[in-house]
Symmetry: C2
Subunit: 186 residues, 2 copies
């Protein structure tokens, strides 16, 4: 949550409010109240005046999307480096599964699907693409046959997110199967 300098007056006050609001949303999401969330509720939890939220974010969807993106791109995970593409992708897929199946993450993902109207690339996928690229480049450098980044996104990442978002079951075994499949098409 490192002060990301939003605009005009980055000084302590705005940042403080923003952080308080972000964490309030995070808490409420974590408490399973993903649906029942409202602006006054968030404001109250954050110890902030509702008006401030209305003025800064306009509506709930905008706020939720912002928080969701911030939460979902907070990288963190070390990329695996096992020496083989299969090993790397398998480990990575497990990491991703473990990540997105956490209830709070799942809610964030679902929240992201709500407000969205026009086509716009989300930082989340770009991050995944970058991660994939690192592993694929390493594999190619070793002389391994490797699928394209797009294929990894389409056939490993997308199905997992799809399952999560639509409430279908996802586990590490499923992730492993997807990796197996994508390697078969290389």
């Amino acid at each position: 949550m490192s002060t990301t300098t939003p605009a005009r007056r980055p000084g302590g006050r705005s940042a403080k409010v923003r952080d308080a609001v972000y964490t309030a949303v995070g808490q409420l999401m974590g408490e399973g109240k993903a649906d029942r969330i409202t602006i006054p509720l968030v404001a109250n939890r954050a110890g902030v005046n509702p008006t401030s939220i209305y003025r800064r974010w306009g509506d709930l969807d905008t706020l939720l999307e912002e928080v969701a993106v911030a939460a979902l791109t907070k990288d963190g995970d070390e990329l695996p480096d096992t020496g083989s593409l299969r090993g790397d992708l398998s480990a990575w897929a497990r990491i991703v599964v473990d990540d997105i199946t956490q209830p709070r993450r799942t809610r964030y993902l679902r929240a992201m699907t709500s407000a969205r109207d026009e086509v716009h690339t989300c930082p989340c996928w770009e991050q995944r693409r970058t991660q994939a690229k690192v592993m694929l480049d390493r594999a190619r450098a070793r002389g391994e046959r490797a699928p394209t980044e797009q294929q990894v996104l389409d056939h490993v990442i997308a199905p997992m997110y799809h399952h999560v978002v639509f409430g279908l079951s996802v586990d590490r075994e499923y992730a492993g199967q997807l990796v197996h499949d994508v390697l078969a098409m290389a």
Copy 2:
């Protein structure tokens, strides 16, 4: 919309209200007001008392989910039969793309991701699975090598739905690529 005998009193009246509500939701969805939808709004459009909706469905999410499922499983599409698996899957993928990229369908899909809590199989995917099975069985009967149903769902259907739901671009060319990929892993 053929009277699906909901419960106790299937007679004309309940059915009439349900249909009116369903079409009202459909209209509002079609008008791009997917977000701004509220129960009183739906009730008004349907010429029905809001109380009736509150009593029958409880909250908006429940109603939306019900309508979404009903709308998304209203089959219709003829399954292609081109003589080759590649031809069948390609044509089918185009049909699916054309279907789910319609604004209204997209909104239904997103609505489906909202209310969902526990893991429960949605008729939508079962329908797609059945469709896939038909084409795959035909292919195998012809002696073609074919991927599994699960692979078709994971690597053709899932990525397309994923793209649609998250507002990424999807078109027939993309669909074609997915089919190409899945056949490569057979």
